[in-house]
Amino acid sequence: MARNTVKAHWTAWWSSEDPLDSLWRVFASPYLTMLLLASLAMLICLGIILPQRPVEAITDLMANNLWLTSLRERYHNAADWLVRLKLSDIHRSLWLRGILGLLAFNLLLGTVDLIRPRHGWHTGLERKVLVNDPVLVSSPEQVLECVRQILHDQHYRYLAGKNNRLACADRSWTGPLLVYLGLLLILGGLAISERTAWWEDNVTLRPGQVRPLGHGINLAVRADTITAKIDPSGRKANNGHTELAFLQENGETTRKTLQNLTPLFYGSLLFYQTSTEPVLLVQAQDANGRNLPLRTPETGATQFMEVALHFREGDTPRYFVVLDVMPGSQLSRQFQQSGLERYVLVPSRDLSLRLRYNPIHPGATTPFFTVEAFRSAETLSFYQHQFHTAETVEIAGDRYSFQPQRYAVIKFGRDYGLVFILPGAVLVLLGIILSVRQPLKRIWLAIQPFRGAVNLHLVVNAPATEGEPPWFESLVQDIVAALNVEKEAGRNHPALGGKT
């Protein structure tokens, strides 16, 4: 039983004579892979059980404070510990990064060991079979050559070791190697993504608007035409497209069409169009034709001669925070106005306009806008009007022009990590499919002259408690038959450094 304890494993792995080799053995061990994967599973479990900070709270300080307040209301003093230990933010925590980093190191050493297994000879935990030959008079080299031939016939890869007295043979190692390489690619890709990837989300583009891409890229995009087909059922259309012109210092370089929910590649950049939404351009002039300064709640005290009001189709609020304090019971708090409503303030007239976008409804033919005007702090509007095309109306003696357009909501960025992550995942899949049919079969051989005979030691990578794997028994039988020797189990070779 002592053979199964962690101490016994550690003793077998660790050799004070060669600490570096021992360290290699520990860090390349599949046991460590399993331990790290179990830790990763535990961390994912904690991520499911414990409340995790939502993305909205990460990007917004006010939302973050609200979320923390709700967490403290729910968990009292434990909330501080959760935050301090980063357990409320596991997916971005050092815990996760540490485990993944260790796993990558373990997989790297494991990959080297799979390609050239030279550190398994010293293991003393696995089952050993001693083939003793008191009768056969042959040199150790001849015995090893005979075994090599048997292994070769059974499609084993034979790797000779020190002094031609030690060797390793394995079969079906390509599957595990592909899985290891695939996992390494995924972890490497994740690291590259974290360090170098960038995304610009929720970028709005009106027709004709030029947007420099930034991030040190000498490139800008211009939305030339933005179209969207309206679904007659009243649902939001998904088939809008935008014609993008890519601009550099010397002018337009190319022109591409960006479809909804379909990526567009340009250079090393990825572009996505999330949606195309309605926008309304508003201008105001007094009776003498002079422009009136306008403000919106979003732009604060800054005044403009023309404002562009962006609407969001559907009834989703423009801004909300989801407080995911208890798994499964989401609490949402809503701020500001609906995505279909916008306000324009006219400070010089102490007037405000409420503009509402009305998406197409069943039975209607086209979406339309409504405008309501309010004086000072009054809650009842003194003016109401509907329109669906560009129109100029008179409100309280001033002329207000409204021009409906559409704008594109796009996202763009660069992520070199994807080049590694996706092929890595495919490799993992291939490796798993390959390896499950033929699990890794690996044996270590050691040859030792002993009292005029030759002892052949065979070590297999299987737990001793479960008995020898059937394939190993069959292989030993083949060797015994070929060498015409006796078989003795459970003895160890001094060269292996194992225990009796």
């Binding site: 046991y31 997916h91 929910l261 992550i421 899949l429 499950v436 890794l440 990578n461 737990p463 794997p469």
Partner: protein, 258 residues
């Protein structure tokens, strides 16, 4: 979308009855004829399991016909498909232990079918991603159902082996539970890969830690541990049976999170 009438669940109820009847037959036949009953009992068991599979397939077809949509778009359909997959894998990877414990395979598949019925009527389409094309969603859910079916079948056979060994000290086929690794893990990996590709194609985000994704990742990590134990460490027998039995709960959690 209008709720699906109860009629679609009738074949599922028939499948549950078949599976429960089969389980009862296993237990009774073992009592009357010992651990190795006559071949006719074994043939009858296979026919009844095939009938249950047919009923589940009919139920799924009815549900699809009534929704006039792609198959496996709803959580109950995926659960019922998992039960059907468990039966299919049972035909391909039969249990080789004490006959009476094979009742566990029927009971787990039956329990899955009952769970599917309990989540009826379907009033809304399951949405893995808000705008995922239905063809992608179908393939993704099919892979998930096949994986869950394999995990459930492997878990129930592993449990049967553990019980068989404990009660009668009879060693099962060492390969019991192998189905979880040979079939379940590749299908689950394919499902995760498809999900990532779809997310990347549509939104530029291959992973967003949603509940369904997190449970799938947890199950995947767990079965990769089992893979390491099986393929690299040469574990087999009781250790793998315990792990695959535990893995059943993760398969259920995955289905619950759809």
């Amino acid at each position: 979308m209008t709720p699906i009438p109860l009629m679609a669940t009738h074949p599922f109820l028939a499948a549950v009855l078949c599976l429960l009847g089969n389980a009862a037959m296993h237990l009774l036949a073992s009592r009357w004829q010992g651990v190795s009953p006559h071949k006719k009992w074994q043939d009858a068991s296979r026919v009844i399991a095939g009938l249950a599979l047919l009923c589940l397939a009919t139920g799924l077809a009815l549900s699809i016909a009534q929704r006039r949509d792609w198959p496996l778009m709803t959580a109950p359909e995926v659960i019922a498909a998992s039960a059907a997959a468990a039966i299919v894998w049972r035909f391909l990877h039969p249990y080789h232990g004490e006959w009476q414990w094979e009742a566990l395979c029927d009971l787990t598949a039956g329990a899955l079918a009952i769970w599917g019925i309990a989540r009826w009527p379907v009033s809304k389409t399951t949405s893995v991603l808000p705008v995922m094309p239905q063809s992608w969603q179908f393939v993704l859910h099919l892979a998930l159902a096949l994986a869950c079916g394999a995990f459930i079948h492997a878990g129930s056979t592993a449990l049967a082996c553990l019980l068989s060994e404990k009660r009668a000290h009879k060693i099962c086929d060492e390969g019991s539970g192998y189905c979880a690794i040979s079939l379940g893990l590749p299908f689950l990996t394919a499902s995760l890969l498809l999900r990532a590709i779809t997310g990347l194609y549509i939104r530029g985000v291959y992973w967003n830690w949603s509940t369904a994704e997190t449970w799938q990742l947890l199950a995947w990590v767990f079965y990769v541990i089992v893979w390491c134990a099986w393929v690299l460490q040469g574990w087999y027998g009781r250790r793998v049976w315990v792990l695959t039995t535990l893995g059943m709960s993760l398969a259920l959690a995955m289905l619950n999170a759809i």
